[in-house]
Assembly symmetry: C2
C-alpha cells in the first residue's frame, strides 16, 4: 500500500499491512499474504523443531466441537458467555468453535491413556483458534482468529509435570531467541486452576497489553496483576532495580493439575493397579502475535527489519531498467543455490520507489546492479539495519550466502 492503513494504531499492523504481509478482513481477523505466509512458515518451522526436540508429537485437531465434552468441564457455559463462538447447525444441533483444546485433547487421551506405561505423553498442534474478543485491537496481537501452537502434557503426578514444565520453559526460551526476541519470564496468576504461579513470556513493547515489573540485571519479572513490587524497589532476587514497562505476552505455560482430567474422567492405572487422575499441563504460543512482536521490536521509521531467521526472503534484488539481463542472471544464480530471493523486476517504478519498498518490507540484504557497480565488476549490497553499502564480487557474495545453510530457501522451486 502506498499509505499506512488509517484504522490501525499499532506499528505491527501498520507495517505488516502496508508492506503486504497481511490483509485485514475484519477487526482481529487477518489474512496472510505471500510475504506474511513465508514469515509465518519460518516461525512454524522453528516452533516445530523445538517441540520435536522435547518429544512433542504433532497432531491437528478440529475447530468444530460437540457440546457434550465442554459441558463435562463446565466450560460450554463459561466460555460461551464471551469468548467461544457457539451456534446451531442446519439440523439444529449445537456446535462450538474451539477457542482452546484442553477438552478435545483430554477426549482423545481417554482412548490413549490406560496405564502408567502410557505416561508421560506430550502432544502439540499448530492450528487456528477462534475467540470472540470484544475489543480486538493492537493489530495482530489480540485476534479473533489466530494460529496457535498449543502443547499439552499428561503425567502420572505433579512431580513429573513440574519436571516437564521447566523442559518446556527452556524450549520456549530457545524459540523466542531464534525468532530474534528477548523475553522476560514473568510470574503470573494461575487463575482458577492452580495456586502456584504460571509463567508468561513477555517482550517489552509499547504495543503490549500487559504491564510487567522486572529487573534488567537478573531478569526476574512479575505481571502487574500479581505483583507487590513498585518501580524503584530493590529486586527481591538480586538487589537490582525494579522497573516497569508495557509488554507483549508471546507465550505462556500452565500447570493444569487435574482440573480437566477430573471433568473428563481421565484416569490411569498405577503400578499397583489403582485408578488415578492424570495430571496435565498446557503451553501456548501465538504465531501471529509472535510475528507482530518481531515487527514491533525490529523496525525503524522506514519499515520492518526482519531477523535472518524469520525473514520471508534473504535477498531483495532490485532490477534497473537498462540492466535487466544482468539482474536476471544473478537472480537465476541465487535461485540455483537455493537462496530465497525477492526479485523486484517492476518496470513502472522509480529506483527511489523500489528502495523505499525494500526498506518497508525489511529483507536483510538489499542487492543492486548498476552502471557504477558494473564498472567495478561487482554488485552493491546493503544490509537493512545499516546505512552503509558496499560493492562486492557476485561470486563471493553467493559463496558467503550458501555457507550459511540455516538461511536456505525453504520454498525451493
Amino acid at each position: 500500500m502506498r499509505e499506512a492503513p488509517k484504522d490501525e494504531v499499532s506499528a505491527n499492523a501498520r507495517l505488516l499491512e502496508r508492506g503486504g504481509f497481511v490483509y485485514k478482513t475484519m477487526a482481529g481477523v487477518y489474512d496472510y499474504l505471500p510475504l506474511g505466509f513465508r514469515v509465518l512458515d519460518k516461525i512454524r518451522q522453528i516452533i516445530r523443531e523445538e517441540m520435536n526436540v522435547i518429544e512433542g508429537q504433532e497432531v491437528f485437531l478440529t475447530a468444530l466441537q460437540p457440546k457434550d465434552r465442554w459441558e463435562k468441564t463446565g466450560r460450554w457455559q463459561e466460555l460461551g458467555k464471551e469468548i467461544m463462538y457457539q451456534f446451531k447447525d442446519h439440523s439444529g444441533r449445537e456446535i462450538g468453535i474451539a477457542s482452546t483444546h484442553e477438552e478435545a485433547l483430554a477426549q482423545i487421551a481417554l482412548h490413549s491413556i490406560y496405564s502408567y506405561k502410557d505416561l508421560p505423553l506430550y502432544i502439540y498442534q499448530i492450528q487456528t483458534k477462534f475467540r470472540d474478543e470484544l475489543r480486538a485491537k493492537s493489530g495482530l496481537i489480540r485476534g479473533r482468529e489466530f494460529l496457535m501452537k498449543d502443547l499439552y502434557s499428561f503425567h502420572t503426578d505433579e512431580k513429573d509435570l513440574d519436571r516437564y514444565y521447566w523442559v518446556v520453559d527452556k524450549a520456549y526460551k530457545k524459540i523466542f531467541k531464534r525468532c530474534g526476541l528477548e523475553v522476560y519470564v514473568a510470574e503470573a496468576s494461575g487463575g482458577a486452576f492452580t495456586k502456584e504461579f504460571t509463567h508468561e513470556y513477555q517482550v517489552l513493547s509499547e504495543a503490549g497489553e500487559d504491564v510487567i515489573f522486572y529487573c534488567a540485571k537478573c531478569r526476574y519479572a512479575q505481571n502487574r496483576e500479581i505483583t507487590v513490587l513498585k518501580e524503584g524497589d530493590k529486586c527481591p532476587k538480586c538487589e537490582g532495580e525494579i522497573k516497569t514497562a508495557k509488554s507483549i505476552e508471546v507465550g505462556n505455560i500452565f500447570k493444569l493439575g487435574t482440573k480437566y482430567s477430573q471433568g473428563m474422567g481421565l484416569t490411569y492405572s498405577d503400578k499397583e493397579g489403582n485408578k488415578k487422575l492424570v495430571v496435565m499441563g498446557s503451553y501456548g504460543i501465538g504465531l501471529g502475535r509472535l510475528m507482530a512482536a518481531v515487527a514491533e521490536i525490529h523496525h525503524d521509521e522506514k519499515g520492518i527489519i526482519w531477523p535472518e531467521t524469520v525473514t520471508p526472503f534473504l535477498v531483495h534484488l532490485i532490477e534497473f531498467k537498462n540492466l535487466k539481463k544482468q539482474a536476471e542472471k544473478l537472480y537465476q544464480k541465487l535461485l540455483a543455490k537455493g537462496i530465497a530471493v525477492l526479485y523486484d523486476d517492476r518496470d513502472d517504478k522509480t529506483a527511489g520507489e523500489k528502495f523505499a519498498d525494500a526498506d518497508l518490507i525489511g529483507i536483510p540484504l538489499r542487492t543492486v546492479i548498476s552502471e557504477k557497480t558494473l564498472a567495478k565488476k561487482g554488485i552493491e549490497i546493503k544490509e537493512r539495519h545499516s546505512t552503509k553499502s558496499k560493492i562486492i564480487n557476485p561470486i563471493e557474495f553467493i559463496k558467503r550466502l550458501v555457507t550459511r545453510t540455516h538461511l536456505k530457501n525453504p520454498f525451493p522451486l
Copy 2:
C-alpha cells in the same frame, strides 16, 4: 483400537480410526493423530511442491468472514441455506465461516490487481474449509471440516485462463501419481458458472460417491451426471469399451470466468487503458479425502499398505523383549541417518500382536531382530505388500535406505 469402530461403513474410516491415524470427533469431523498428521504433512508437501512449480504463491486466509463480500455475489443467501455455517457473534454482528474462498480471494485481488501488468496471478492456500453437509458419511471422503488446497488464478482473458487450466491439469496428475493414485480425468458439469465442461480427478473405488463412465484404453471419462454413454458403448475417442464404476473425486478444476469478478467489481486496465473484468479459475484438492482415497485403494484385509511417498514412517521396527539392546542400537542408527522409524518397544504385547499392528498401520518396511536373524548376523526385513521376508545385513539395509533420499524423515529430531 482393538476392534474396528462400529459406526463406520467405509474401509478408509475403519482402517484410519483403528490404526490410530484419526479420531472421530463428530460425523464428518476428524482429528488427525500423530500417525495421520504425518501422512497429511507428506501430502501437503507434495501439493506445495507442485503448486510452487506452476508459480502458485502460498497464502493463508481466514475462516471467519464478514457478510458484505458474500452478499455482492449472492452467495450469503445461496450457501447459507445449506452449506455455510452462519451465526451472530457476541456483539450481534453476522459472521460466516468460509466453505470456499472465491469471494475472499477476489476481495484481496481488489487491492493487488490494477493493470494488465499485474496479471496473471496464481494464489493458493492449504487451509480448513467448513461445510455443513447434511449427510456426512463415507469416513473422511465427505467431511464437515477438512483441509483443502485451493488455488485461484486471475487472467486478462479466457485464452490465458485456458492455457493455465491445462497447466494445472498436468500438476494435478503429477500430485495424484506421486501419492500413489491412478486417476481418470472426467468431464463434468460446469454448474451455474460456465457452459464448458469442468474436470474432475476420479479414483475408481466402491467407497466413492460419484459414478463415472470411462474407457480404460484411452482413459476418456465422463461423470454420470452429464454423460449419454452407456456401459458397453464404444468409446467416442478410441473405440475402446466404455465401463462404469463408482469413484472418489479427489480434485477438480473450474473455469469461473467473470462470475466473481463481476460481483466483486474486480477489474484491470488493459494496454489501451480500458477497464475490463478479470477472468478467474479455481482448482481444489481435499487433503483428507486424498488420504482416504489412498487408504481405500492401498489396503488388504489386514490393514493399510502406504505408498512410500506418503507413509508416516519408512521403517516399522519391532523390538523383542530379550533383544532390547540390539533393537535400540539399530533404532539410533536409523535415526542418525535421518530415516523415519516407528519403534514398537512396547513390552506388554506379544510378537503376534505387534505383527498384527504393523500390518494394520501399513508402513512399507517391517524390521525385526530375533535370535534367528542374529545367528545369521542380520535383521529380518518384510515389505508390507509382500508375504516374503528376508534376512539382510543391517549396514547394507541402512545404505540402501539412505540412497533413496526422497524417503528421508521430514521430522528430524
